[in-house]
């Protein structure tokens, strides 16, 4: 029996899945594990892609939204291409990621979320990605000491002209901002459900160890 919040999460996810062409194929999964074997980053996951699908079908949505798997996926599409049941695994993981972000299911100063937010701020501001500003702001918001630790690579890139000194703003920035504002009204409403913040205990901290 699903708890109320799991039932609600499942409904939200199914609504997302419906918008993915072929999303209903999720039910065709034969748990063969080709996705896990093909995944170049499964070594850093707490749940393998195969387990993610199995757990979803078993109704363990909340647990799976708390796994670090959905954040570690590099969207290389190897699993999607090799899946014998033709399931769009990468896009399903994206859908889980969006739900977790909308519900605030991730630790404080969580790098993936901060990076995505900083990235979208840059696009809203300039219309293009301003790498130098992106990296500095992102590191300041997640791990300021890394700014110091990474100064060598930063300097090396800068010396070779790989980091722009100033942002490049597009002429149509006002129009782009109107497009973004309008499009935002169609995305799922931000309904942050009050729930205890998860901590590093779940395993986020163990990434890469």
């Amino acid at each position: 029996v699903l708890s109320r919040s799991e039932a609600e999460l499942r409904a939200a996810f199914l609504a997302e899945v419906d918008r993915i062409p072929g999303g209903a194929r999720l039910n065709e999964c034969i748990q063969c594990g080709t996705c896990t074997a093909s995944c170049p980053v499964s070594f850093a996951m707490d749940l393998t892609p195969r387990q993610v699908i199995g757990m979803f079908r078993a109704g363990a949505i909340e647990e799976l939204l708390e796994s670090r798997t959905i954040w570690v996926c590099a969207s290389c599409y190897q699993c999607t291409m090799r899946c014998p049941a033709d399931i769009q695994i990468t896009d399903l993981l994206y859908a889980f990621k969006r739900i977790a972000i909308e519900r605030g299911i991730f630790p404080d100063r969580f790098p993936v979320h901060v990076f995505a937010e900083t990235f979208t701020d840059m696009v809203k501001k300039y219309g293009r990605n301003y790498e130098t500003g992106l990296i500095i702001r992102y590191l300041l918001r997640t791990n300021p000491t890394a700014l110091f630790a990474r100064r060598r690579s930063g300097m090396a890139l800068w010396r070779r002209g790989r980091l722009p000194i100033r942002p490049d703003k597009i002429d149509g920035i006002e129009g782009l901002r109107r497009i973004i504002a309008k499009a935002e009204t169609f995305d799922m409403p931000q309904e942050v459900v009050a729930r205890p913040k998860i901590t590093d205990e779940v395993g986020y901290g163990a990434i890469g160890r």
């Binding site: 918008r19 062409p21 170049p40 980053v41 850093a44 954040w71 570690v72 590099a74 969207s75 290389c76 599409y77 190897q78 999607t80 291409m81 769009q88 990468t90 994206y94 990621k97 969006r98 972000i101 790098p111 993936v112 990076f115 995505a116 937010e117 990235f119 979208t120 840059m122 696009v123 219309g127 293009r128 990605n129 990296i135 992102y138 060598r152 690579s153 090396a156 890139l157 070779r160 002209g161 790989r162 597009i170 002429d171 149509g172 129009g175 782009l176 109107r178 497009i179 973004i180 504002a181 309008k182 499009a183 935002e184 169609f186 995305d187 990434i207 890469g208």
Partner: protein, 274 residues
Amino acid sequence: MRAVFAKLDAELVELEDWNCCGATAYTSVKKTVAYAISARNLALAERTGDDVVAPCSACYYVLNKTRTRLAEVPELSEHVGAALAEAGLETDLSVEVRHPLEVLINDVGIDRIAALQTHSIAGFRPACYYGCQIVRPHSAIDEDPELPTSMERLFSALGASPVDYPPKVRCCGGMLVATFGEIAEQLCNELVGWAVERDANCIVTVCPLCQINLDLLSLNGGANGAPLPVLYFTQLVGLALGCSPEELGLEHGLASVEIAAPQLATTAHTGEPT
């Protein structure tokens, strides 16, 4: 890249006022916005009447995904259309989005590129790296997505000696370099290590993000203590066609291209045909 296309009588024009395609970061957060900003580029491109050539695998994939998804999902298409209307633009899905590798192979052809060669690149032993999104989930090049060979065919025809490189379609980690650096570093280490083991003296990529991720390793001495230059594939084509290292931007590489081609250091490319 523009210099290389010019040598092949193909003119590349920068798309006026293009914006960021959104990449994977946007797709993770706001879906409609991700499609809408990508669709703005398609709408701008339609006015020029030209095809879009996207030199980054992620841009290539995101723009193409926008085309297919908007065609398949009426609700999404309606929303994106409404958003674009705010800036006086209309959704247009007729523009072809292509990758430069596919353009060189299919439109120009390996034979013609080889016929226009003026300089030898015989000393290069490239590991040809395709990475993810130009072969997956939809292959840009008409060949086996698990084992593409077009770069090998191209560079062999130009007299270089591509090495056998089994991990050619494995992932470099992409944006994980920013979020989970250790994971990306491990993937890149394996990719560069494999190239070193196969006796390559450079890696050739089809995506600037793969290029920078692999190149960053050289700051720590590279895999197995051997820094390898990492070139975008048109840079190596350009050397064969007689473009200068400056035109090709070779000085931007972290691992110097001289590791693969010592002659580029001393003669500074005289422009003399070989």
